[in-house]
């Protein structure tokens, strides 16, 4: 049960982080550079999961992804079943829940990018993709790493949203935090200890790697 939950958690966090990066990179770039009147609204929407109780977000997502929800019906139309209590539903829920933890570090990094260096690169003949890879990305590397780690770790650590949207189906939606809850409920404290200590160690190692990487870079 535990191995299955760990594998599912890593799979969920990896897919969520990758998809979040695909969405968040252009969104954060736009937020860092726009003067459009809608910017504060978009920023507020992105940040909602930080302040909203996870159960509230989970409840609305359950409604949205369920049989009567818009996304649930859309999924039913294409796949024959809704998204509630499925791995796909968990991915969508995790993406929304972890969105601010990926967008905000990226936006802060994009804010600090020296726009003149981008213009200089254009004038030296470089097109946008080369400019992003050779000029922008090196300047946002720390923010990018922070976004990856925070997005991944926050997905690993989620509980309320996952429970509401995914329930507790082993192999399908039972992630580590839910498995831990079940172990405590069934008074299997020894296993619960191992799992908790494992999560604690995982979190520490990830953070150590991030801080270590940042320190190496700041030396130059």
């Amino acid at each position: 049960m535990i191995e299955q939950a760990i594998f599912l958690t890593i799979k969920l966090a990896t897919i969520t982080t990758i998809l979040l990066l695909v969405i968040s990179l252009p969104l954060a770039w736009w937020l860092a550079n726009t003067r459009h009147f809608s910017k504060p609204f978009i920023e507020a929407i992105v940040a909602i999961p930080i302040v909203l109780p996870p159960t509230v977000l989970g409840f609305y997502l359950l409604v949205l992804l369920g049989n009567n929800g818009a996304l649930g019906q859309l999924s039913h139309y294409f796949t024959g079943h809704s998204l509630a209590f499925t791995f796909g539903g968990l991915v969508i829920a995790s993406m929304l829940y972890s969105l601010p933890f990926v967008v905000q570090p990226l936006q802060a990094s994009f804010d600090r990018v020296d726009k003149k260096t981008i213009e200089a690169a254009y004038l030296l003949g470089a097109y946008p993709i080369k400019v992003f890879l050779t000029i922008v990305f090196p300047q946002i590397k720390r923010g990018f790493i922070a976004a990856c780690v925070l997005g991944f770790a926050h997905t690993v650590g989620e509980f309320g949203v996952v429970l509401m949207v995914g329930g507790n189906i082993p192999g399908e939606t039972q992630v580590v935090s839910i498995a831990l809850y079940e172990l405590v409920e069934t008074l299997e404290y020894e296993k619960a200890h191992y799992l908790s200590a494992g999560l604690l160690l995982f979190s520490f190692i990830v953070l150590l790697l991030v801080y270590g990487a940042n320190k190496t870079r700041s030396v130059r």
Partner: protein, 328 residues
């Protein structure tokens, strides 16, 4: 030959600029802060789009509002040296200079520019490890290594000390002569503009108020705006001054530009009576701010040998008519 005739709706005013640049010549763009100098450089390089007009670089059309041509910056082959250099801090000096050079002859071209700029031993360093003057050289080398058809520079010496400016000014003139590239430099230091440039254009609120050879423009401003942009403080309506000073002019001029050095203290007949407002003493001269009887504020420069003037006292001055400039 690079020529442009464009308009652009600036936040504060409507820009309307026509400029022609000649190969191997340095053209200075001067004007007060906010007159549109940097905006013009951005318009020419393609970082901003003009409202209307035409930009030609030799036979190539970079922008033509009538034909709907607007080349992206990447295709213009226009080099721009930014005021703060905009070096790529995460790249070595070699990589910075190589950025705009095609891979096939990159090594040779970059080595050549490193040598020309005296940076051969700095190739593997990063920009943060260089002095201000060295950064400036890297920025210039990076742009010139890409073989631009025209070079634009935005206040290139503003962050450098006097000694470095002298050296770089000399080097730049030589480089431009050798390369034959037309150069447009936005510059606020008038003395520097005179020493560096062959031609000059004065911008005021986005419009060209005067253009021509440097010596001609500086010696004969054609308007009050031009005189102010050239740093002449004392621009007075002629009727405020005695007829004697402009009687030799064919036609009565509207304004008179009086250099600060044209005044001498007079005991007897005076061209001007003025009250001293303030004074600043330097090693060999003293500058005075004075108010004339008509209310104009003038700046005077008297040698240290002249008697010291007392603030709030009124004095009589004579004006040396050989130094005067007239605006019709």
């Amino acid at each position: 030959m690079f020529s442009t005739e464009i308009t652009y709706k600036h936040a504060d005013f409507e820009m309307d600029v026509g400029i022609t640049l000649e190969p191997g010549k340095i053209h200075a763009l001067i004007g007060e802060s906010g007159s549109g100098k940097s905006t013009l450089l951005r318009l020419l390089s393609g970082l901003l789009t003009p409202t209307e007009g035409l930009i030609n670089s030799g036979d190539r059309i970079l922008f033509d509002s009538v034909k709907g041509i607007n080349l992206v910056p990447q295709k213009r082959n226009v080099g721009l040296v930014f005021q703060d250099y905009a070096l790529f801090d995460h790249m070595t000096i070699f990589q910075n200079i190589a950025y705009g050079v095609s891979v096939s002859n990159q090594h040779y071209v970059v080595q050549d520019w490193l040598e020309k700029m005296g940076l051969s031993n700095k190739a593997d360093l990063y920009p943060e490890q260089l002095s201000g003057g060295e950064k400036q050289r890297v920025a210039l080398a990076r742009v010139l290594a890409a073989s631009p058809d025209i070079l634009l520079m935005d206040e290139p010496f503003s962050a450098l000390n006097t000694q470095l400016r002298l050296q770089l000014r000399r080097d730049l003139r030589q480089l431009i002569r050798d390369s034959g590239v037309p150069v447009l430099i936005a510059i606020h230091d008038l003395e520097e503009a005179q020493m560096l440039a062959d031609q000059v254009t004065i911008l005021s609120k986005g419009k060209v108020v005067q253009t021509g050879e440097v010596q001609n423009v500086f010696a004969a401003p054609n308007s009050v705006a031009s005189a102010h942009a050239l740093g002449w403080h004392n621009v007075l309506k002629c009727e405020m001054l005695p007829f004697r000073l402009y009687e030799r002019q064919m036609k009565k001029p509207a304004y008179m530009v009086i250099p600060a050095t044209a005044f001498t203290l007079s005991e007897g007949i005076a061209d001007l009576k003025a009250t001293v407002l303030d004074s600043v003493s330097l090693q060999f001269t003293t500058y005075y701010d004075v108010r004339t009887e008509s209310g104009d504020i003038l700046q005077l420069e008297l040698s240290k040998d002249s008697p010291r003037l007392i603030i709030a006292e009124q004095y009589h001055f004579k004006v040396n008519e050989s130094q005067l400039m007239f605006i019709n």
